[in-house]
């Protein structure tokens, strides 16, 4: 069951992720990203992380991506291609290829390390694993401090957004 769902989902995920990178238009990238995030929510559900899966949809695919789309629209960036202002096309391609190679190297390294890691024993999960209740309990007991601190973080971000984006300059 998990197997059946996981691999296609993972494949789609990767495809959409690549879509973000490959697409020329920011809007298409954003849409790919939303799709990828939704797929990820699926992956989370597969891992019994229901709470996170919900958050993934609400916060990421919902709030965050809406913000992205909003800004893209606001700035009217649709379809603006990636013109090579900086360097010659060849050089740019060269750099991109180099970047690709580096990324491939990292990927290779990561995969080989994960392979080496030998997590063989099957996952043992309790009945209530990943339920909102379980996670919530821990969040408000053991991790209450991070939770509170996160509020400050969001406050700071809020101030920042206001300070930076407010149109009137005094």
């Amino acid at each position: 069951m998990e197997l059946l769902i996981f691999y296609p989902l993972a494949g789609i995920c990767i495809l959409f992720a690549l879509g973000v990178v490959i697409n020329n238009s920011p809007i298409s990238s954003a849409i790919s990203l939303i799709a990828m995030m939704l797929c990820l929510a699926g992956v989370f559900i597969l891992q019994q992380a229901h709470f996170i899966a919900i958050l993934q949809i609400i916060i990421y695919a919902g709030a965050i991506m809406v913000l992205f789309m909003f800004v893209i629209m606001l700035l009217n960036l649709k379809g603006k291609g990636e013109d090579d202002k900086w360097q010659s096309r060849d050089r740019n391609v060269l750099l991109n290829v180099l970047s690709g190679l580096l990324a491939a190297g990292i990927l290779y390294k990561l995969i080989s390390i994960i392979n080496e890691a030998k997590f063989n024993s099957p996952a043992l999960t309790s009945e209530n694993f990943g339920t909102v209740r379980e996670v919530g309990t821990i969040l408000f007991t053991e991790f209450v401090l991070p939770f509170e601190v996160a509020s400050i973080l969001l406050l700071v971000a809020m101030i920042g957004a206001v300070v930076l984006a407010k149109s009137k300059v005094d």
């Binding site: 390390i113 030998k118 007991t141 209450v144 400050i152 973080l153 406050l155």
Partner: protein, 478 residues
């Protein structure tokens, strides 16, 4: 459904954070009711920092662990809180006149500094990776905003964007590293990680090591160590000068404190894996930092590279991982705070609206028009270079003794050779001040707050150089 029982919350341990949060919000709220004159906010912020310092001393019998071992008040955190408060206070003082001059007339500025300080305090006191991550993020986000707070200024914008993008990028690495460490130890609490490593119960060593490498990248970025330092010169240059000074001291100190906790305190047994890497990073930081500074003509960029090289020295303390390393780290950071604020204070002093006079040529002949300022600048620069009898020297001596105690002779030799290189560009500034004729008039507005900062810094620099004993005793009082 049984109710969730509220966990015990150690408010006294948390007092500095709370004080900062309260004052930060107070600044925000007060800002709504006052006009263009923001001096009240300065006053409130400084009071807040003072209160923070006092509240940080509330705990005796250190260390005290709270929040299931996620938060600790120990010697390191108290001392670092002290450093943060000083640096933030100096940053606020230094900003007053600058902000007026450059038209950064937003009250949020001060509350952001306070929140950033809060993040630093958290970071220095956290013993849980989640908390560390949050601390770092609070600091980073505040700094992104502060860097870009001069909205009309393209340079400031650009600095903010660069800092932000690269910072987020680095956050990704940091996070991945933490994840891997979590995966291979099964916990985010540093104490337990240390225990797991000590008992050799790591689930997967390769992943763990990979995690450590990624952590080094993340922290390396935050402290601007080579090769993750590329943002520093640009951001230092673009950000408003007080923010630059602030950025160079407090957040760096906080990150180093956390880094020290993770590396030296938590995984000394794994040092075979990270020691070499840190050595490489440290050596590279020293070299690239110093060599990079040689060619700079912009004083802020020069100081940026210089701060990169100083990170190289500071990393030595982490590599040494012995009884002296934490105290040397503390002492160095305190000394560094004075030196940096002093230098930037003078940089601010020399500027005028829209004409910041950041090029070295603008310093030509300063010594003849304003000998005292030139002399103070000389003191700061030489102290940065590590010349006795100034704070920088004692700090270096401290770090080198820590490293030599563990037998890192080559590293120390590289460090001292780098000090010699660093003298070159510090001397260059002095050359301009003393040995060139003035190219134009100086319009120095001797604003009281900035002068106060310079005076405090000069006093600190000299005091820590000539009579460092009390502070050393304090730092070593383990």
């Amino acid at each position: 459904m049984e109710p969730i029982s509220a966990p015990p919350i150690d408010l006294i341990s948390l007092a500095p954070v709370l004080v900062l949060a309260v004052f930060g919000m107070m600044v925000l709220i007060t800002d709504l009711f006052i006009g263009k004159d923001k001096s009240v906010l300065v006053f409130i912020s400084l009071t807040g920092l003072l209160m923070t310092t006092i509240s940080s001393l509330a705990k005796y019998n250190l260390p005290v662990y709270s929040f299931n071992g996620a938060y600790v008040v120990d010697h390191l955190s108290v001392f670092f809180t002290f450093i943060f408060c000083i640096s933030s206070a100096l940053a606020i003082l230094i900003s007053v006149d600058y902000n007026k001059r450059e038209g950064i007339n937003v009250g949020e500025y001060y509350s952001l500094i306070l929140f950033c300080t809060l993040g630093m305090v958290l970071l220095a006191s956290s013993t849980d990776m989640i908390m560390i991550f949050l601390g770092i993020e609070i600091i980073s986000i505040s700094l992104y905003i502060l860097a870009g707070i001069q909205r009309k200024n393209t340079k400031s914008n650009e600095a903010a964007l660069k800092y932000f993008l690269l910072g987020a990028f680095a956050t990704g690495f940091l996070l991945y590293g933490m994840t891997l460490i979590y995966g291979s130890t099964g916990t985010t609490k540093l104490a337990i990680i240390a225990k797991v490593i000590g008992e050799n119960k790591i689930l997967s060593e390769p992943l763990m090591l990979m995690g450590v490498v990624l952590l080094i990248i993340g922290f390396g970025f935050k402290v601007a160590a080579v090769p993750f330092h590329m943002w520093a010169p640009d951001v230092y240059q673009g950000a408003p000068t007080p923010v630059t000074a602030f950025m160079a001291v407090g957040p760096k100190a906080a990150s180093l404190a956390a880094f020290y906790r993770i590396m030296s305190e938590t995984m000394p047994e794994l040092s075979y894996s990270w020691e070499t890497l840190l050595c490489v990073v440290s050596v590279l930081s020293m070299f690239i930092g110093n060599l990079g500074a040689i060619m700079q003509s912009n004083i802020k960029r020069l100081l940026a590279f210089s701060s990169v090289s100083h990170v190289g020295y500071l990393l030595i303390a982490i590599i040494a991982k012995n009884s002296l390393s934490s105290s040397s780290l503390m002492f160095y950071m305190l000394a560094y705070a004075f030196m940096v604020f002093g230098t930037f204070g003078i940089v601010i002093l020399l500027g005028r609206k829209g004409e910041e006079n950041l090029e070295l040529e603008n310093y030509s002949g300063l010594a003849y028009k304003h000998p005292v300022i030139a002399l103070t600048m000389t003191i700061f620069l030489l102290s940065l270079g590590g010349l006795p009898p100034l704070a920088g020297f004692v700090a270096k001596f401290f770090i080198f003794s820590a490293a030599l105690k563990e037998g890192y002779v080559i590293l120390v030799i590289i460090a001292v050779l780098n000090s010699a290189i660093s003298f070159y560009y510090y001397l260059r500034v002095i050359v301009f001040m003393y040995m060139k004729e003035p190219i134009k008039e100086f319009h120095i507005s001797l604003t009281p707050m900035t002068l106060l900062v310079i005076a405090i810094s000069a006093f600190g620099t000299v005091q820590l150089g000539i009579f460092p004993d009390p502070i050393i005793a304090l730092a070593q009082a383990n």
